[in-house]
C-alpha cells in the first residue's frame, strides 16, 4: 500500500526521560527512561504499527513525536522541518498537520461540551472559521465518521464507546491533518465494535491519504492494519520490518516470543504451534539492564549481550533489528 517513498516523519535517536525528584529540596535522583534512543521513518500514506507491552514507551514515543512532551534528546523531522527545535507558536500552528486519537473514548472527551464544541474546537483554535461555517464543517465531519449530524447538540455521555471513538476521530480530522497518531484507538472497545472502527480508519486513510502511527498491544490487529511494524521493548525498538516480513520471519527473540504468545482463535492451529513462554516481567525503566535490554528475559542471551548495547542495524533491506545474535 506504500505508494511512494516520501519520508513524512523522520525520528532520530529520540529520547524522552522523565525525571524523578525526591527529598525536601526535590533533587533529581533518577529518571524514567521511557524512550531511550529510537530512530525510524514514517513514509507518506503508510501505517506504521508500533507494538509492545505496557510500559515499553510506545505511547510516549507517539506523544513525543507530536511534541506533547519536550524530548530530552534527539530530533523529529516533519517534512524536513525539525520539530524538536520549534518554538511554541510555530509548533502550535504545526499541530494542524498532526493530530491524535486517544485510547480511552470516555476520558478523552470533555463531558461538559457538546459534540459540536468538541469537534469544532480545533477549527476555532487554529483556523479563522466562525459561526455557521463551523456548524457546516462539523456536520460534514460527523457524516464522514458515520454519525448522525443531528446529534451535534448532544453530550458525550449519550454515546456508546464505539460512537465516542468516532467523535474522537472526527475531532482529529477537523483540520485536515496529514499525520495522525492513533494511540490504542480500539483497545477499550468490544470485539464487534473494533472491526467497525478499524474499517473506518482504513476508509479515511484511503480517502484523505493519511499517514498513521498506529500504537497497539494487539499484535493481530496491528498486523492487519499496518504496512510496516516496529516492536518496542523497554524504551528501544527491538525490530522493525515490513508487516509480512516481521510476522513470517521475526529475527529478534522478543518478537518471536511475542508472536508466539498471540492467542489464536483456532484450536486446531493452537495445538500444532509451539509457544515461547518468556520468564519473568519487564524490568523497571528507571534502571534498565546493561547491554541489551531484553537479556534478562532472553532465552538465548550470551555474555556479549550483558556488555555491549546491540546496534539497531539493517540486516536485510528494510528489516532492522537490535540483537547481537542475529
Amino acid at each position: 500500500m506504500t505508494e511512494n517513498d516520501n519520508i513524512l516523519i523522520k525520528v532520530e535517536n529520540l529520547k524522552m526521560h522523565f525525571p524523578i525528584y525526591r527529598g525536601v529540596i526535590r533533587r533529581q535522583v533518577g529518571a524514567v527512561h521511557a524512550v531511550d534512543g529510537v530512530s525510524f521513518d514514517i513514509y507518506e500514506g503508510e501505517t506504521l504499527g508500533l507494538v509492545g507491552e505496557s510500559g515499553c514507551g510506545k505511547s510516549t514515543t507517539g506523544r513525543t513525536i507530536l511534541r506533547l512532551y519536550k524530548p530530552t534528546e534527539g530530533h523529529i523531522y516533519f517534512n524536513g522541518q525539525d520539530l524538536s527545535q520549534l518554538k511554541s507558536e510555530p509548533m502550535r500552528l504545526m499541530r494542524r498537520e498532526m493530530q491524535m486519537i486517544f485510547q480511552d473514548p470516555y476520558a478523552s472527551l470533555n463531558p461538559r461540551m457538546t459534540l459540536r464544541d468538541i469537534v469544532g474546537e480545533p477549527l476555532m483554535a487554529l483556523t479563522d472559521t466562525t459561526g455557521k461555517k463551523i456548524d457546516e464543517r462539523v456536520a460534514e465531519l460527523l457524516r464522514l465518521v458515520q454519525l448522525n449530524p443531528d446529534f451535534s447538540g448532544r453530550y458525550p455521555h449519550e454515546f456508546s464507546g464505539g460512537q465516542r471513538q468516532r467523535i474522537g476521530i472526527a475531532r482529529a480530522l477537523a483540520l485536515n491533518p496529514s499525520f495522525i497518531v492513533c494511540d490504542e484507538p480500539i483497545s477499550a472497545l468490544d470485539v464487534s465494535i473494533q472491526a467497525q472502527v478499524v474499517n473506518l480508519l482504513e476508509d479515511l486513510q484511503k480517502e484523505f491519504n493519511l499517514t498513521y502511527l498506529f500504537i497497539a498491544h494487539d499484535l493481530s490487529m496491528v498486523r492487519h492494519i499496518s504496512n510496516r511494524v516496529a516492536v518496542m521493548y523497554l524504551g528501544i525498538i527491538a525490530e522493525l520490518a515490513d508487516r509480512k516480513e516481521l510476522y513470517n520471519n521475526p529475527l529478534h527473540p522478543y518478537t518471536q516470543a511475542l508472536l508466539s504468545a498471540i492467542p489464536v482463535a483456532d484450536p486446531t492451529f493452537d495445538e500444532t504451534r509451539s509457544r515461547i513462554v518468556l520468564e519473568g516481567d519487564v524490568p523497571s525503566p528507571v534502571n534498565p539492564p546493561s547491554g541489551c535490554r531484553f537479556r534478562t528475559r532472553c532465552p538465548i542471551a550470551e555474555q556479549i549481550c550483558k556488555e555491549i548495547v546491540p546496534e539497531f542495524r539493517e540486516v536485510k533491506p528494510g528489516h532492522f533489528v537490535a540483537c547481537h545474535l542475529v
Binding site: 468490544d190 470485539v191 473494533q194 492487519h224
Partner: protein
C-alpha cells in the same frame, strides 16, 4: 454424579432508574468434573452476572435472581441458607477476578490475605496456614515465596498479582474455579504465562474451570467446551473445535469474522457487525440479535429461538441454518 454444576433457566435482573435491566434471561448449562467451559461474549452480555448469580454474589438490591436453579453436587446453590453458601464460596467453588490490582487488599500483606481463606475454610492455625501459603505461592511459580509473603500487593507486578489471586482461589482445593477475565488486564507474554499455569494446575489438581472472557483467542487455547452469550442468552454452545470449524449462529460467525486472521497474507477488509449490543429493559419477544443480524427472517421478530441441535454436542439458537440459508 456426572454433572458437577447444573444451572437451569437462570434469570437475573437489575433495578435501575431507567427501568429493570434483564441481564440474564434464562441461561442453562452444565459443567462436568475436570472440564473447562469457556464463556464468551462482549461487555454487558451477562457472562459475569451469570456466574456471580450462581455464587449469589449479586449485590441485592439492585440485583435480583428472579428464577432458576443452580445444582452443585445435587444441592441448589440459589436456595441454600447463606451460611452454607459461604462455606462453598471460596472453598469448593472459588473465583479469580479480572483486575488483580483492585481485587487484592492494598493494606494487607500477601501472606495474611492468603492465610485468611485457609484459616476460615480449612481451620488451619496461623503457622500451618503460613506454611501452606508458601507452598501455594511456589505452586503458582513465584520465586522466593517465603520472603515475598510479607510483601504488599503494590510490590508485586500485575502478572504476579494474578498468580497470587490464583493461588488464593486454589488454596482450599476447589472443585470449580471460576475465572472472570483473568488475563484481560495483562500483557500478551504474561497472559501466555498465566494460561500455561492454569493448564498445568488443571492437570495437577483436576478441578473444573469456568473461564469467562471476551477473547476468542484465549478461549481456543484453554477450553474444552464454549458457550457464546449475547443479550443475556446463551446463543451457541459447542465443543471447542466444532465451534471454530463450524460456527452456526450469525453472531458467532460475525465475532470470528471481525478478528484479523493471523495467517492472513493479503490485506482483506474485516467483517464488522453493524450496530451495538442491546441493553434489555424488556425481555425480548424476538431474537435479541435480530436488529444486527444479516440473516434475519420474519420468524426472528416474532419468536426468540431456543437452543437447537446443530450436530451432536453443538447447539445454536437461530431459526436459520447458516450453512444452507434454509429455515430450521
Amino acid at each position: 454424579m456426572d454433572q458437577l454444576l447444573d444451572v437451569r433457566n437462570l434469570e437475573t435482573q437489575f433495578k435501575t432508574p431507567e427501568g429493570i435491566v434483564h441481564a440474564v434471561n434464562g441461561v442453562s448449562f452444565t459443567l462436568k468434573q475436570g472440564e473447562t467451559l469457556g464463556v464468551v461474549g462482549e461487555s454487558g452480555c451477562g457472562k459475569s452476572v451469570t456466574m456471580l448469580s450462581c455464587l449469589r454474589l449479586i449485590p441485592s438490591p439492585p440485583g435480583k435472581i428472579v428464577a432458576g436453579e443452580a445444582f452443585f453436587r445435587g444441592e441448589d446453590l440459589l436456595k441454600m441458607p447463606s451460611e452454607e453458601i459461604r462455606l462453598i464460596r471460596g472453598g469448593q467453588i472459588s473465583m479469580v477476578f479480572q483486575d488483580p490490582m483492585t481485587s487484592l487488599n492494598p493494606v494487607m500483606n500477601i501472606g495474611k490475605q492468603l492465610a485468611e481463606p485457609l484459616m476460615l475454610h480449612l481451620n488451619l492455625t496461623r503457622d500451618q496456614a503460613n506454611k501452606r501459603s508458601i507452598e501455594l505461592l511456589e505452586l503458582v511459580g513465584i520465586p522466593n515465596a517465603g520472603e515475598r509473603l510479607s510483601d504488599y500487593p503494590h510490590q508485586y507486578s500485575g502478572g504476579m498479582r494474578q498468580r497470587v489471586m490464583i493461588a488464593m482461589a486454589l488454596s482450599c482445593n476447589p472443585q470449580i474455579l471460576i475465572a472472570d477475565e483473568p488475563t484481560t488486564a495483562l500483557d500478551v507474554t504474561i497472559q501466555a504465562q498465566i494460561v500455561d499455569l492454569v493448564k498445568r494446575l488443571r492437570e495437577e489438581l483436576g478441578m473444573a474451570i469456568i473461564w469467562i472472557t471476551h477473547d476468542l483467542g484465549v478461549v481456543a487455547s484453554i477450553a474444552h467446551r464454549v458457550a457464546v452469550m449475547y443479550g443475556g442468552y446463551i446463543i451457541e454452545e459447542s465443543d471447542i473445535k466444532d465451534l471454530y470449524s463450524n460456527p452456526s449462529h450469525p453472531y458467532t460467525l460475525g465475532l470470528l469474522g471481525s478478528l484479523p486472521k493471523i495467517q492472513e497474507e493479503e490485506h482483506t477488509r474485516l467483517y464488522s457487525i453493524e450496530g451495538m449490543p442491546p441493553v434489555l429493559y424488556k425481555k425480548p419477544k424476538s431474537c435479541p440479535f435480530a436488529p444486527r443480524c444479516s440473516w434475519v427472517v420474519e420468524r426472528c421478530w416474532n419468536e426468540n429461538p431456543p437452543l437447537m441441535a446443530v450436530s451432536p454436542g453443538h447447539r445454536a439458537a437461530c431459526w436459520v441454518d447458516t450453512k444452507t440459508g434454509s429455515l430450521r
